[in-house]
Amino acid sequence: MADTIHFRIRRQDGPGSAPYWQEFRIPHRVGHNVVSSLMVIRENPVTADGRRVAPVAWESNCMEEVCGSCSMRINGRARQACSALVDTLAQPIVLEPLASFPVVRDLMVDRAVMFANLHRVHAWVDLDGSWDVHTGAPRISPQEWDLNYALSRCMTCGCCMDACPHFGLDRAFLGPAPLAQVLLMNNHPTGRYARAERLHAIMGEGGLTDCSSAQNCVQVCPKKVPLTTALAALGRQTTAQLFRDIFG
């Protein structure tokens, strides 16, 4: 096993500036992941050819693959950097920002569009208020729960959006993650009251029909959210909605 870890990192000083590459080598340690390696680099940011440079900028928080912060392309694949164990990766380990979002700096991108899209698809249940109404929601079977729980684990990390051939800068497509939330909300026993509104939001431009079923999304999802299953179910729901719209 190599005694150093070799990184090749695509850097960019700001949104408008040109990208460039830098290489770093840090001492090998068993158990290192990409985030812990970036932490070593930031403490002593010296490139492989000996130049002292500004620390690499990236995003991370939970370090246990549940917050969705540290998405980046690692050896070409969008994934969470905290769970990318160095010993499982071919070297040099190539780090790049997600390509479908605007770069903020280095490996940091701006994923605001994902949250804006959650607004577009009405991804909430319309509560009268968050006070106690002295009753719970209607019952949900364990079988329904299985699918809903899988959908609810989406952490808005953006890996699926990055892998999608139809989502990107200057394109209207909502992307797989916000779409899957439509199914989750429509499945809820009272969330379904706003079903028509959500379906209409995904029937127009940038909606469901922009998906060509490339299946890339489901392959990269770190939480194994059943994205393509959800999109297929939404296809059936939008068709039914179309008939309801026409025939009342």
């Binding site: 000083d13 700001g14 158990g31 992941n33 985030v35 812990s36 932490m39 930031r42 403490e43 002593n44 940011p45 002292r52 440079v53 500004a54 620390p55 900028a57 995003e59 991370s60 928080n61 939970c62 370090m63 246990e64 693959e65 549940v66 917050c67 969705g68 912060s69 769970s83 164990l85 700096r105 940091m108 994923r111 949250f115 959650l118 607004h119 991804a123 909430w124 249940v125 319309d126 509560l127 208020g129 968050s130 006070w131 106690d132 109404v133 719970g136 929601a137 019952r139 949900i140 079977s141 364990p142 729960w145 729980y149 609810s152 684990r153 952490m155 808005t156 909300m185 809820h188 969330g191």
Partner: protein, 629 residues
């Protein structure tokens, strides 16, 4: 003064902050919500096992009273009891509200909310969503806040860090200054009330189970501006963490609630693979020492037991700081459904399958029971906390409220598992309601003009930034943080000793002095992460001092604060009725007369000054000591 609607600020977008935001917005009060990043990425997402509410749907005769008693005794009587009473009473309603929001709680075959067992209790009381409950609760409230954004009542400022409070001439909190984490500009934001929901401080210990942004810096800044800080010495070590070089990853107490067992080989240094060690040669020390509660003793008890087995008896696996957390005897499908997401974590980070091989764990810093001191108003009719009072969750600075892990109200000397999601949600809701009542009751025309305070505070913060950015000092903030963590872990940990605490206090003074020479590797402004980090490191040192000084002064053992020199052990094999027990009880009560007091620290030029306040024990007077044998 303006007659426009009052504006409020919530700092922090985890469970507490989002609940506070939601209740303010629902009261018609506009909210400016500040967070370090998109609120959905907050540390609440890391809570795994569940949230407590005495729903009593498992035929065990569970009750709200029992939840109250377990919480009070779990915390070694140190928390004011009326707020605990109200929290436990309102827990079922809170759960049903989450359910209405669409939170995907796990279900029974009948489609009802399922319950699991947790530590420090004997009944199943923990509602859960697989083993990612915090994530699901956070998302539920996040969605509701999105609804309020749509209604124009909430405006989010994500990628902003609070730097300080703005206090007016009367000492009231009238806004904050914040740093734009992209452009590095400092701005002052006025408000009639500010709610801090800024989470825990695990990063003070370097490596903990906390997210890398849980530094406690915002609470430290409020403390340095005059807010009192309570019970800082009570730091919970979670008994079962996967120890890592970058962080310690939590393995939920839910695993033990679902049947996992903790053990270590009886023979020191036994090198055999765990599954080849016969039952008789395994030491299930929790089950042996605490037969009544076994593997689900409270966390302080479990962590100390592991400490004893490893550090004092030399029984760590392979002689290292590890013991086994074993669920290999449970059916794989059951484990997958109930604990899937934590097992994924273990597997992704170790490459080992916990259904095939016992997990290796050790205690790690996890939760701060202490936090900003907050007030509450007693409801004389019920003996609980008065609904809608503006005093609730208000800090010692008028107009400044605190909720969630950054307040110190509910957990006393030790928090029970699955009570943190409850206190974060409940306190956020209460703080939001209190802040709404406060601004609606303010005689706003009588308030001094805050303009000068806003401008002055902004300048002061800009000067600090300029000083650090232009410094040529040779101290590296990342290295200083590592040293801070090593100092705190080494000397202010599971077992404490006054000589070591004195060394810790001296060490912290040195670190603070060295911070004066801090220098950064980047001077550019755009998305410069080193500057905010460096500032957090200093604020962590200040909090570390509060923790160490509070610990130094408390000469007793209570919950997570354990000084062996002052230990008063329950006489072995003795129970109520035995004369030795009665003698122990008398000594225990005598100790309570001296130490059953809330520690309150205030910032001063020479470090923290400590005073002690009485604890309201009107719900369950301290008559029976904790005993989990």
């Amino acid at each position: 003064m303006s007659t426009a609607k009052p504006t409020t600020i919530v700092v922090g977008g985890g469970l507490g902050g989002l609940w506070a935001t939601l209740r303010l917005a629902e009261a018609g009060v506009p909210v400016e919500l500040f967070a370090l990043f998109e609120v959905k990425r907050s540390h609440s997402a890391c809570a795994q096992g569940g949230i407590n509410a005495a729903l009593d749907t498992k035929g065990q005769g569970d009750s709200i009273r029992q939840h109250i008693v377990d919480t009070i005794k779990g915390g070694a009587y140190l928390a004011d009891q009326p707020p605990i009473k109200t929290m436990c009473e309102e827990a079922p309603g809170l759960i049903h509200t989450f359910e209405r929001m669409g939170v995907t709680f796990s279900r029974t075959p009948e489609g009802l909310l399922d319950l699991r067992l947790f530590g420090g209790v004997k009944n199943k009381r923990t509602v859960f969503a697989g083993s990612s409950t915090g994530q699901q609760l956070l998302y539920g409230v996040d969605e509701q806040v999105r609804r309020c954004e749509e209604a124009g009542l909430v405006h989010k400022h994500e990628w902003w860090e609070m730097l300080s409070l703005v206090l007016d001439a009367d000492g009231r909190c009238r806004g904050i200054t914040a740093l734009n984490l992209r452009s590095l500009e400092v701005e002052a934001f006025p408000a009639e009330a500010v709610v801090l929901a800024t989470g825990g401080l695990g990063l003070v210990y370097g490596r903990s189970t906390n997210s890398s942004n849980s530094t406690g810096a915002a609470a430290s800044r409020a403390y340095q501006q005059g807010a009192a800080f309570m019970n800082a010495e009570f730091i919970q070590y979670h008994p079962t963490a996967m120890i890592g070089d970058d962080k310690n990853r939590l393995m939920s107490e839910a695993s033990r609630g679902e049947g996992a067992r903790i053990w270590t080989p009886r023979r020191p240094g036994d090198a055999r693979p765990p599954r080849s060690i016969p039952e008789a040669e395994r030491f299930y020390f929790l089950e042996e020492w605490y037969p009544a509660y076994g593997n689900t003793v409270p966390r302080d008890v479990a962590s100390r037991a592991i400490w004893k087995a490893v550090k004092h008896m030399g029984l760590g696996v392979r002689g290292e700081d590890r013991v086994y957390l074993d669920l290999t005897h449970l059916p794989r499908e059951f484990v997958r459904r109930r604990l899937g997401s934590i097992l994924e974590i273990y597997e992704s980070f170790t490459g080992r399958d916990p259904c095939e091989e016992p997990m290796e764990i050790f205690p790690a810093p996890h939760y701060s029971m202490g936090g900003l001191w907050v007030d509450w108003e007693k409801d004389l009719a019920t003996g609980g906390m008065k609904h809608g009072s503006p005093r609730n969750h208000q800090t010692s600075i008028p107009g400044l409220f605190a909720c969630g892990e950054c307040d110190g109200a509910y957990h006393g000397a030790n928090r029970l598992g699955a009570n943190s999601l409850l206190s974060a949600s409940f306190s956020g809701r209460v703080a939001g309601e209190a802040a709404a009542a406060y601004v609606q009751g303010l005689a706003r025309t009588a308030l001094p003009d805050p303009a000068a305070a806003l401008g002055g505070e902004r300048l002061r913060q800009e000067e600090i930034n300029t000083r650090i950015l232009s410094s040529d000092g040779g101290e590296n903030p990342f290295a200083l943080h590592r040293e801070l963590g090593e100092l705190m872990t080494g000397k202010v940990g599971v077992e404490r000793d006054n000589r070591e605490l004195d060394e810790a206090i001296a060490g912290l003074a040195e670190l603070k002095a060295r911070f004066g020479r801090v220098g950064l590797d980047e001077r550019g402004a755009w998305a410069n992460a080193s500057l905010p980090y460096a500032r957090q490191v200093y604020d962590m040192m200040v909090l570390a001092e509060v923790i160490a000084v509070s610990a130094r002064q408390r000469d007793e053992c209570r919950g997570s604060h354990h000084k062996p020199a002052f230990e008063m052990e329950i006489p072995e094999g003795k129970f109520p009725g035995d004369p030795e027990w009665d003698d122990y009880l008398a000594r225990w009560k005598q100790n309570n007369d001296r130490w059953l007091r809330t520690t309150v620290a205030r910032h001063g030029p020479e470090g923290p000054t400590i005073e002690y306040l009485p604890v309201d024990t009107s719900v369950l007077p301290p008559e029976t000591p904790r005993d989990y044998r």
